[in-house]
Symmetry: D2
Subunit: 380 residues, 4 copies
């Protein structure tokens, strides 16, 4: 418990000053250099943002590796924490434990356009898909940004998806960008956030199995990217502080009335790791996203599609059976706890980043979402 430091600064003032100056840091594990999902080697993120009057939306792409994921599939797992959602691609992902396209995020009513774009993208690289080769499984996850964005316009196009793919890089913008452009969280502006955590493995074994006997220490990285569009303000917790009730007093009447509304949002939580996990283990990892989410004040509201997906970059699975399967030495089950902690912490941190970096947006019918930082600036 901290002791009061300066007789002329109240603890409340000190806290407010701290809250204004920087986002809280979650947990004790170290971050990677970017504190983003792109700390997992090979992963890149791109956005296309649509910002014109009633159209406040976009698309975000997570590329698991630099190659063609249809030809070199990526092991993946899933946790449907609350299945009120319209994502596509999850049934096959769960059956086969792999993904075969970039992961795309967008608004609920633009899922179809983006899925079609993924089909065409794969077809251009692999002209025989749907003919002599199997059809590709599009993978598009979504939240409903209908408060700020006129979702019925289905404004996102296939070109937007391709632009996001082209633009993908290592330093993803966060906040009101890409698929996050129109998203809301806790009646404030939500959007895209990312974070990473590094997990030292205390046993040399996983390294040895992978790297053939050089028993050097090994650290794995877990990265998270969220599309944050959930939360009711009274429940809002910020780095462990329940700020919601106090922030509510700073809202005007209209916004306060909205803050009484039931949960209608959603959150998509994508985890990447370079640890060699199989699909079952990745599903276990994905389930820990729910712990990070709960700490921020969510009880997985009825109307909130809370979906977590995890993939590993440690190996890929060839599309064709005539190419050799990798010999994978997965992490021993009893060593997963560090990765589980990293999953929960990086998801909570990514949510923190989404709100921290979110800029205010005015959209459909003049609806407006304020930025958390603007409210924090008024705390005293």
């Amino acid at each position: 418990m901290m002791s009061a430091t300066m007789h002329d600064v109240s603890p409340a003032q000190a806290l407010a000053a701290r809250l204004r100056s920087q986002p809280p840091r979650i947990g004790l594990l170290a971050s990677g250099p970017l504190d983003a999902i792109t700390d997992v080697a090979g992963v890149r993120v791109g956005h296309a943002t649509l910002d014109r009057d009633d159209v406040q939306t976009g698309v975000t792409v997570i590329d698991p590796h630099a190659g063609d994921p249809y030809r070199d599939k990526v092991p993946a797992g899933l946790a449907v924490i609350n299945g009120f959602g319209k994502s596509v691609g999850l049934v096959q992902l769960q059956e086969l434990g792999q993904l075969e396209t970039p992961i795309a995020l967008t608004n609920t009513y633009s899922v179809s356009a983006v899925a079609e774009a993924q089909i065409r993208q794969c077809g251009q690289a692999n002209p025989e898909t749907g003919r002599s080769l199997p059809t590709v499984n599009p993978l598009v996850l979504e939240c409903n940004d209908g408060f700020l964005n006129d979702i019925q316009r289905m404004a996102v196009t296939g070109d937007d998806y391709l632009a996001a793919c082209t633009q993908a890089g290592l330093q993803p913008a966060q906040g009101s960008v890409g698929a996050g452009r129109g998203m809301s969280s806790f009646q404030l502006k939500g959007g895209i956030g990312s974070a990473s955590r590094r997990v030292p493995m205390s046993h040399a074994q996983p390294h040895e199995a992978i790297q053939q006997g050089r028993p050097v220490p090994r650290t794995f990285t877990v990265g998270a990217l969220v599309l944050s569009n959930y939360g009711v303000l009274p429940n809002f917790c910020w780095g462990g502080e329940r700020l919601g009730p106090q922030l509510a007093t700073l809202l005007d009447d209209e916004a306060r009335a909205q803050a009484q509304a039931p949960e209608k949002g959603s959150i998509i939580m994508v985890l990447a790791t370079d640890a060699p996990l199989d699909a079952r283990q990745l599903s276990r990892l994905a389930a820990r996203a729910g712990a990070g989410l709960a700490r921020t004040g969510s009880v997985y509201g009825h109307g909130s599609g809370d979906i977590a997906l995890a993939f590993s970059t440690a190996y890929t699975l060839p599309h064709q059976a005539d190419r050799p399967m990798p010999a994978v030495s997965t992490v021993h089950e009893t060593l997963l706890d560090g990765l589980f902690q990293a999953a929960a912490d990086s998801v909570e941190q990514a949510i923190v980043h989404a709100l921290w970096w979110a800029s205010p947006v005015t959209g459909r019918n003049g609806h407006h979402r304020r930025a958390l930082r603007d409210l924090l600036a008024r705390l005293d």
Copy 2:
């Protein structure tokens, strides 16, 4: 065991004659008057069929009732028998145990177009969806008809979906129609099939609970509609007879070579019933589709998306909480066996009907699928 009847007709000849004359009848339960899913009161089926050169595909719609399913939702359950499939809408259906659109069937790469059409259809009837009302959950199931149909063209349009809805009626065409136009089963022509079974309930209780005390006997109906696009010929069983090997001898060399190919199809099995079941019970009912499917020679091949969905017409669930919820007396769990038998039998019968009514189709690159009946006619 039958005894030989006529000295001048061999048993094989008699069997062949029987096989040519009519489809086998599955099981001992009676059918409804139409022997189709439309025997479940309120259910209607419509098709739009695309038949032009390399485009051999379509869309089929199952309407659960005459009203707006978004406003009056339908209890539903799911069984993912093999999840190699690209359907949309299943995650939310499983979480909420209800469906809120017509059920649409189409080819794998037209799912997005049909899902968009469902969104627009719902938006026209309920302009506030995605704004003050929740987004609608499109429900589109699919098989890959890429052998006969140039699937990369994504030929099915929203207008085709609407045409199928408009055309929906009580006497659905079967075989090479609607979504079934380009489908193959057992290297023969597959497509749409339907059937129904009636289940007498030996106990008066379910009736009493529903109809308030009039203890008259009660019979429930289970109806099935399948989109049949699965199966390898050597395993083909037809009403309990393993005809596959014999039929294979009637194929030309090219077709026989194809019959060695691995399972790449899929089957969608939709069950309707007027029995008052809840979502959990409907999931149990859906699982029995897998038994009917297995009897025809399927082992749920790796590449076959085998999905079963069941819904009840006995009650609906209001969209808005200010309308009263129905007081439902579900069927006692120990009385489900008759319904389970009906589910398995009607699915097998629907598969039989799909193949029986399928007409031959020539499509993409001159690929051709023969009709089963043309092969049966050559048996002797």
Copy 3:
């Protein structure tokens, strides 16, 4: 944010004083009169406690109603948050959505003895079980109390189970009693805790459907009982305060060393409600236990069997099909959020109570677990 009140009491001292005086209260919903699962009418809880040298264990029973649950089954749902557990009865509970015995909690290696006792208990009341009647499905959930209790002795007997049933009442003891006798949480003494929350339903509809048209306001109760045996001290959060690191400084070296150990515990979380929910909805309710659990510092550790089970007392399901099924009007899905909040809050509160009421225990090999309150008393 509180302001400093008295110039001669530091904020840290004020916090410490508050922490010593009473357990933190979770959330904004009101509790029932007992703040225990027994606030749900009809539910009773009993314990049998074994406290002799190396045997520090017991059994706890939750009785869902005063009748015979085999004859009048109780709707129930399940959430396997982390399935590292040896409970019995969950497979059938999930399939049928009901339970048919009291819910028993005990240590991992006494599950068999208690399950046998449940079989015998049901057989005495229903002599034809396993003959002309179906076998009964025992339902026993467990945690591993092997640190304090010599688990290999399998010390709990069938008589202990029956004693707990006999002793069942409305004011359950909490802390180091019953199945909680030997349990540890956060390297401190864990055990049994309970709590309840009341949820006003803003719409009259559920009431009307149940009580036939008298549109009076309606409040539902959600109660929780936990067997708390999970947690690593550094992560410990107490009513939103991360006390773990500070408490760790109060431990002696040996205890601090243990606090570095990986998660090896488990937690069983049982929810009861008088809201009319079906099994699917009860599974959704159970999943929210995971949110309450996460807030206390759990990331659902690999080795922790984290299981939540929820049941409703609003109606029962007759064993025999010749008795009428109830006509149930379930709560409208969009009104579940209050119940979800209550589930998460009452689970967290029950965990708080388990630690608050836990008395220190010395058991196997002189192993000792301190009581949280003894550590809190040393905070300053």
Copy 4:
């Protein structure tokens, strides 16, 4: 279609003669030398049979390898085809994808005794289980043999389990032995059956990955062992022939009345393979047991606990993280179809063997089950 061969033997007589002479052979794949689960190298099976008046029951053990499965765990997957069952150990098996004891089969009310015996057995080999080592997860699957066996006596003891372990070998007895002693199928005598199928892999890749580059052809084995206690006679199919109705005419009145009873049995289906599959793939393999089961006339009756479990002997997983994890090259997903066919075929064949080898048993209250072969002998 066969042609009539001898003018003086009717086809019905020929069929009857064939049915009497040998069990039908399922499918086209070759069997291993024993046509039993023990064709999978390392797997052994043992029985203990209790045969005294009203006690007609027993225990059967499947040992996955010669070592200690707690220390060298076995990858495993699960398919709950119908969860009306009281098995123990499945929740953890599903979470961790492994098993750590021999697989034990027994009657429903003896599960607890056998689970305790497994705990003690593991504790003797590993004295620190439940202390410094995790508790062991007993794995006991069951069917209800209450028609022939006085199940309330809980007659099976821990010593019986140990005797079955000791007796385990490569040539398991089949029929009315071990756990199968008191089981019924199709109102006839059921019990234990086993079979195997061999699957040539057309691609050298899996072999290479496992055996480091020697590109010789490779064949995998799938073995099945069933505890068969399900089925209603009218639905009985025997190698594709629906014999049930004809056999029913051979029963006396009392037995025929029983044959109208609803499904109250269960079946446990255990699959072993030497193919290197991970837990997710093993769950997919287990699901194909349902196809083999359906072909025999099952629709997965409400009251039938139909559980399938699959394990691989290709590698083991060390209990302790300080031992190296194996580098496993799993079978390419698109090559699973042969294994799926083998799973379905070997399960159906094992059911055939269970009924073929079953001897008649008289048990509780003089209840009697006839052997199928005695009925077949009366066909003409």
